[in-house]
């Protein structure tokens, strides 16, 4: 077993090398910049200003607004995506005619870059020439989905359409690898469909459910491309996500130092759900 453990270290070597080689410098750089008054013009001759950037970010009402919007957005879309993804995974976890085509169809929205799909949504949701707007209006709904008060919900719907396939794929792969025996045993014991799902399937799927929820949660919290293209965080700051806040601070107002302070704060904030998620994904003992 000692020899096995030694091999175990070898198994981790490539990963460790990648992290050391590529992630350490940019990571530390964020901390370094966050203590400077660095801007895009004075990038190479900045002054050390201690925690001033942190103070500025933490006293900025808009920073909390952005976090608030991101949190609400994340909770809603991730819940919907998990429920829908699980339902689809269960529906497809059987012999079906044309299943591979169906799965490909379901995965289609993932296959277009969010940045590009965002651009196409500007056309689809256009008040005058957009297909979706036209039929919504014909059915008596408002056609201006990108104006308040509809705009946050429109953005969430776009997210759900684009990312449910992600949770579906992970959960479907998980369902496919659940052994038959526990399920068969439950059937022999006379359990119904719901009971099997609740007491046999879901517990076995738990690590993957958490993995999917965690990955989607983090990515949804960081949402940037689609919203930046559709609303640029507006009107006002109504749809400004944490990433858009960071982007605007860094590249539009030009405060690189302040933007990196915001990144560090977000990192600390997000590391709490992250460590909890990891703890729950890992089964207790190796």
């Amino acid at each position: 077993m000692v020899q096995e453990r030694r091999l175990g270290y070898a198994f981790l070597a490539p990963l460790t090398l990648l992290l050391l080689g590529l992630a350490v410098f940019p990571g530390l750089y964020a901390y370094y910049l966050s203590a400077l008054d660095a801007s895009l013009e004075t990038f190479r001759s900045p002054r050390f200003i201690g925690l001033a950037n942190y103070v500025r970010v933490l006293t900025d009402r808009e920073f909390y607004g952005a976090i608030g919007f991101s949190v609400r957005y994340t909770l809603i879309v991730v819940t919907l995506e998990l429920v829908l993804g699980l339902a689809l995974a269960i529906a497809l976890n059987r012999e079906l005619r044309g299943k591979r085509v169906l799965i490909s169809l379901l995965l289609l929205p993932l296959m277009v870059s969010p940045a590009l799909l965002g651009i196409m949504f500007r056309l689809t949701l256009n008040e005058f020439i957009g297909t979706v707007s036209y039929y919504l209006r014909a059915a008596g709904f408002p056609g201006n989905l990108l104006a308040p008060p509809y705009v946050p919900y429109t953005l969430m719907t776009v997210d759900v359409v684009q990312w449910t396939p992600f949770t579906f794929l992970i959960l479907y792969a998980g369902l496919r690898s659940i052994p038959d025996e526990p399920v068969e045993a439950a059937i022999v014991d006379g359990a119904g469909g719901w009971q099997i799902l609740r007491f046999v399937v879901l517990p076995l799927l738990r690590p993957l459910l958490l993995t999917a929820a965690f990955l989607r949660g983090i990515d949804a919290f960081k949402t940037f491309d689609t919203i930046q293209i559709l609303t640029a965080g507006g009107p006002g700051s109504l749809t400004t996500t944490a990433s858009i806040y960071v982007y605007k601070t860094a590249f539009l107002t030009g405060h690189l130092g302040r933007a990196n302070a915001a990144v560090v704060i977000l990192l600390l904030l997000l590391s709490i759900p992250m460590s909890r998620a990891i703890r729950h994904i890992l089964r207790s003992t190796p």
Binding site: R5, T16, S113, A115, L116, S177, D180, K222
Partner: protein
Amino acid sequence: MTGARRKLLTTAGAWAVAAACGVLFSFPVLNTVLTSLKTVADISSTPPKWVFAPTVEHYANVFYAAGYKFSHFLANSLLISLACSALLVVVCLPAAYSIVRFGIGRARLLPAAVSLRLLPPVTFAIPFFILYSASGLLDTRTGLVLVNLLANIPLGLLIFVSFIQELPQELEESAFLDGATAAQALRHIVFPLAYPGIGAVAILTFIWTWNEFLFALMLTINKATTVTVGASLFVTAWGVLWGDVAAAISVAVVPTLLFSFFVQRYLVRGITLGAVR
């Protein structure tokens, strides 16, 4: 209601749900494909035209516009995404095995690696640009493979860890008793058993890398430009060339579609686990 009939009904219901969602979800993409075949006047006609005389002008623009190397972008994306997706499995599967079975790196390495996903890419473009300029990785496919690898390590690690810890340990233990090394156990037992996980990770990583915009934008000049960044070149300061963007997207979807179609066969269970119990 007999069992057989009931089963038939559930199957039909499942099919209907999946098909309905499939159509709904894929509508934006299908609509994009339609847009790519319309003339500029047809694109902005209202009510929307479903029947129209198709044009290939946008595809001609995408492939033959002066100074615009779309096939080169496609080749870049294909190489980068394939390499990234294969390398990710090679890097993460043994690491996850080590984490689950030996408990090495559970406490620090795993959280450190997973926290990569927390970073918003916008601000990290600058340090990466500096790092890449200094090391000659700027505007190279290798550079993009590495940065996408980094972004997908959390996904690979977490999914593999989840999978491996559900696998019965008995198989490996009996292999060890027979004198196998951990490397052999990984190759002959874990690898085939983890097929569905590998399939999912390979598909998701390929798609992610193919679609990645920000790093691909920031870390290339013109040699390693990917298809996603290439497609965005049809967005001008004076509006979006809808038809051309749509045509570029439509072409760019094909390789991902084919890749996920073929890798889907790995989404089935490797071998029946019950056989050894």
